[in-house]
Symmetry: C2
Subunit: 239 residues, 2 copies
């Protein structure tokens, strides 16, 4: 969808929790790269898509109450409140395109599967009631391409950036790559190294665990598409 | 002082204003690179100097009420309140050391002066009651070294990063380099280009203009010294 445009994960919270959540993102920029935060009550992401409306322009939403999924919906027109703050967080689609452009294979795309994701023993830096383990995604990379995969993805700090871990899965508490906590298992070939990137599921898991009275996210695979191109995120990110 | 260690600008606000100020920093990362934000009420910067106490470990503080400087003090022991949030923001000392290490001259240091700073016509992205123009610092760089100065400073996004503007001062509303708005005028030699970096005075000026009932900053030249080395900030910044 909209190939080349930056996609973003959505988290909507009440203003009451917005400072702690923004602080959580600031303290954990690898899993939680902030692309935009709306003014309280405004559904318009002024930095990344000023004419968009976050009440209608995400294809599917999930509504959580006290940490439980209670509803899926295709718009938020009847749900939106004056104290809502929407967070748009960078997503791995951006760096996967960069890997492909660099001729580095992305296995789960080849196999038509979801990327495998794992809970790790890496603890995020806590902020207020937001805390929990970092979730990582794994892509097997041919050993000769690992250094280049680091360089290519490091260009996109606003889309999780460089890997957080390479090989040695036990060191981050992963026992069995064939049994991911989220997503699908994928093939790892001889001579490939498992490379782990911080994953955007982390902030959603952390926000769910905080059991806020109300939280809204995009539904998996139904991200928000911004007006930005991947190259707009290179280096220091948005101007 | 403590050569090689990262110094930081301090801004202390009530929790009531902390979300808007953090959002302002998130929207304006070049002038406001966040190194650490304390938990409300805590004087300990857990990320950059966990054993430090921000009530005593800055050599001089300035206290502002309703945007007016009312007091200078050498500790905050009697001022500290349960709802204070302290922001530590990256400072140009880090990238100036990198310039010197790269053999690029830093004129105001050679001349024993303060760096010249200028209000520009570049407007920061507003957040709540925080808004205003970007203040930039200027360093004259020999034309042959400008590209390298960009590369060297771009490595430190947490210390203002790459320049925001090079040459063509009129385009950002600067009329006369010999009359800076803050700091001292310095010599610009034949064949040197004025290079402008986003300046840490920006968030202080913006916070003063917001006329909060109470705000505390470090006194000019009396920054907080963190436990970090410059190289800890390279690339994506703190882990």
């Amino acid at each position: 969808m909209a190939n080349g445009f930056v996609q973003a994960n959505l988290v909507v919270l009440r203003k009451e929790w917005a400072f702690d959540f923004l602080l959580f993102c600031q303290r954990n920029p690898k899993p939680c790269p902030v692309l935009d935060v709306t003014d309280p009550g405004s559904p318009h992401p002024a930095r990344v898509a000023p004419t968009a409306d976050l009440r209608t322009d995400v294809p599917k939403y999930r509504i959580y109450r006290n940490g439980e999924l209670v509803e899926e919906t295709t718009d938020l027109l009847s749900h939106w409140q004056d104290d809502f703050v929407a967070f748009l967080l960078g997503c791995s689609f951006t760096f996967e395109k960069a890997l492909l452009d660099a001729g580095i294979p992305v296995r789960h795309l080849e196999e038509g599967k979801n990327v495998p994701m794992y809970r790790t023993t890496i603890l995020c830096h806590k902020a207020g009631r937001f805390e929990g383990p970092m979730v990582v995604s794994m892509r097997p990379i041919p050993a000769r391409d690992v250094a280049r995969a680091v360089q290519v993805t490091a260009r996109f700090p606003a889309a999780h950036g460089a890997p957080v871990h390479i090989g040695a899965l036990e060191a981050i508490g992963i026992q069995d790559l064939s049994r991911p906590d989220f997503g699908d298992p994928i093939t790892i070939r001889e001579g490939e190294i498992p490379v782990f990137w911080a994953c955007g599921v982390t902030p959603q898991a952390v926000a769910m665990a905080a059991k806020l009275d109300l939280m809204i996210t995009h539904a998996p695979g139904h991200m928000f598409i911004t007006d930005l191109r991947g190259e707009d995120l290179v280096g220091e990110g948005l101007k």
